[in-house]
Amino acid sequence: MDLAGTAPTGVSPVGARPARRPHLRRIRSLARAHEHHLWVAGGRAAALVPLVALALTMVVLAWKAWPAARVNGLHFLVASTWKPGSTYGAVTRTDGVAHPVGASYGAWPVIAGTLESSLIAIVIAVPVSIGAAFALTERLGGWLAGVLRTAIEILAGVPSVIIGLWGALTLGPLLANDVYPVIARNMPDLPALRFFKGPVGHGEGLATSGIVLALMIIPIIASTTRTLFAQVPALPKEGGEALGMTDWEVSRRITMPWVRAGIVGAAVLGLARALGETIAVAMVSGSLLNTVAPNLYGTMGTIAATLVTQLDSAFVDGTGFEVRTLAELAVVLVVVLLLVNTAARLIVRRAGGIAAPVGTGA
């Protein structure tokens, strides 16, 4: 509402605070004259915010983590002990960095847990998401598609803590009572399949974490894939049908190759979410620090879950070494995410952009 602009003179019609008006007008006319520059400068500043935020986060994390990284060494990535040392014991120094006597950290179990649970999630989520997207764009029409689409969107918006709670209270025990025993019993007793056999636990563990993660990333992958499918032009598909292809052949030989690179991208989005998901996994994994799951159902921990469950007790370490080690762990997670992202970009490039030649391999 531009009062100053519409008033006939600098004197306000009701005479309220006339002294302030001219300044306001001058500022406004200045702003109008330089509107373009303001717009560009504002846009640039806004564009810089994410970059600066990312850089600052990384710098602060690295700054915090560096002393711990020096003491823990490369050994940190492969060792399996998470040993805070006794905060009631003496304080000692290694390379000038203070830490409790007996502190020794290895993150391999939680690194492995992160990769394993995300792998399970992606293996479940990708086929389900592609199926759902395919059904939405090609098979279901009208109100049913609308309902399903809305359901997927709502699932995407459910806070992870709620999914975690449901996973811990309902899904986990259900799987442990009715599903895992069936899988463990019926899996052939081969050395390669040992991982699927053995005690099934009580609902918290690797398999449950993977399944909960899958539920959380399905909406991400499915909605992206649905958009991709919708972008495939009708002409090649109709051409395929004209050549006598079945629906299955059209989707496999025309639609899928058309969007393959995009689907890899969608899967990577989902994978990144799974790798970094925190609270839901903390609630259904068992939150262990020292244990690589002995089989598919065993309890374990992930990097992100460890950060959230251990921060409190880390503050008890008066030397601050455990907090630094958690910062180092956070850096490891960021590096894992970067590696996954880079790998995905390479795959996408090799798969060749969105416009794959029609009928490749047909």
Binding site: A7, V14, T87, G102, P199, G286, F315, V316
Partner: protein, 377 residues
């Protein structure tokens, strides 16, 4: 917007201002009437008048249920003190008090020496005596199993993995033990309960647990099949309730939840090797031995004393407080609240403590605690 609508704005503003004024008047009137109503009854003797202040507390989930009983009772005497409490685990309680984020940190463990070195004005004030029970979920076994420190240590090291292990059977000749895998629960947060429990394991299995793992508010838990880490005493009880074969160390203030969830607790070995339950008499016997040894600053573990009929895992519940407070009024309110809490007439009376199965401070310790409380300035 044109000039013609502006009077409307002014009219609206006037109406709004009038409404606001009325609301403020009404608010202050009701506040005044609220203030006028409750008059403190008789001034409680021996308790400083706190004045008006806000006190915050975080920490031990074991002490948390007692705070929830204490605070309303204290506020009935002193309306002008507002108190917030939170069960966050002793680790957070210690850290928050050390950092000055809260006024009182609750802990089942005394302060680590490094913290005291860093912050010489921090003190741990014993408030009451608590007990730790070893709970388990074994359908069909209602008896209190006999468990020794060595057996518990072996369970938590993954050396004993089934409930019908010969080592457990030998101590329980009259119980038919099921062939159920043991699921060992531990705390994921920094916890005074972990400190007490691991101190007990270190004391009773010096060569094993004592050298390999040691004691602290969080330790490197050896790998055991199906192990679970849970947050807070509440998390331990609810996880144990849904996990058949579980074993968990739980503060006695969760005894009623524990029994309500169908869990049972174990008898442990006293100083003479006899298995005893955490009855008030057995706890008092253990406490009597350690009270004599307790230094004025209350820093001591009450674990596995050489006492006949003494239950071996008990502890002081501490308030971690900085003696140097930023304001005299906060210091006065903290003193008042803690004086009330340790007083045998008020906070330490059976009326409150029996609800969480705690034991009151013995006279010698009461004196020491009061001396510590009076240092808060």
């Amino acid at each position: 917007m044109t000039g013609s609508t502006r009077p409307w704005n002014r009219a609206l503003a006037v109406v709004a201002a009038a409404a606001l004024g009325l609301a403020v008047l009404a608010g202050s009137a009701s506040a005044a009437s609220a203030k006028a109503k409750p008059k403190p009854k008789a001034r409680p003797s021996g308790i400083e008048n706190p004045g008006s202040a806000t006190i915050s507390e975080t920490g031990s989930t074991l002490l948390y249920p007692l705070w929830n009983i204490w605070v309303p009772a204290y506020q009935q005497l002193f309306h002008s003190v507002s108190i917030t409490t939170a069960g966050t685990g002793s680790g957070t309680g210690i850290t928050d008090a050390a950092n000055g984020t809260v006024d009182i940190g609750s802990s089942d463990a005394y302060l680590p020496p490094a913290d005291v070195q860093q912050d010489p004005t921090l003190e741990n004030i014993p408030l009451a005596i608590s007990v730790q029970v070893i709970a388990y979920n074994l359908p069909g076994v209602t008896a209190h199993l006999n468990l020794s420190g060595k057996v518990l240590s072996d369970i938590y090291q993954g050396k004993i993995t089934s409930w019908n292990d010969p080592a457990i059977a030998a101590a329980n000749p009259n119980v038919s033990l099921p062939d159920i895998p043991i699921v060992a629960l531990h705390r994921s947060d920094g916890s005074g309960d972990t400190f007490i429990f691991t101190t007990y394991l270190s004391d009773t299995d010096k060569a094993g647990w004592g050298t390999k793992v040691g004691y602290s508010t969080s330790v490197q838990w050896p790998t055991t099949p199906g192990a679970l880490a849970e947050q807070g005493n509440g998390g331990m009880v609810s996880a144990c309730a849904k996990t058949v074969g579980c074993i968990a160390y739980v503060g006695i203030s969760y005894l009623s939840q524990l029994l309500g969830d169908g869990l049972t607790y174990a008898a442990l070995q006293d100083g003479k090797g006899k298995y005893v339950l955490p009855t008030p008499a057995n706890v008092a016997a253990e406490a009597a031995y350690f009270v004599k040894k307790t230094p004025p600053d209350g820093t001591i573990s009450l674990i596995d004393g050489p006492v006949e009929n003494g239950y071996p895992i008990i502890n002081y519940e501490y308030a971690i407080v900085n003696t140097k407070q930023s304001s005299a009024s906060t210091a006065r309110a903290i003193r008042s609240l803690l004086e009330w809490a340790v007083s045998p007439k008020y906070g330490n009376s059976a009326q409150y403590l029996s609800q969480v199965s705690f034991q009151p401070l013995p006279a010698k310790l009461l004196k020491a605690s009061l001396a510590q409380i009076h240092k808060i300035r």
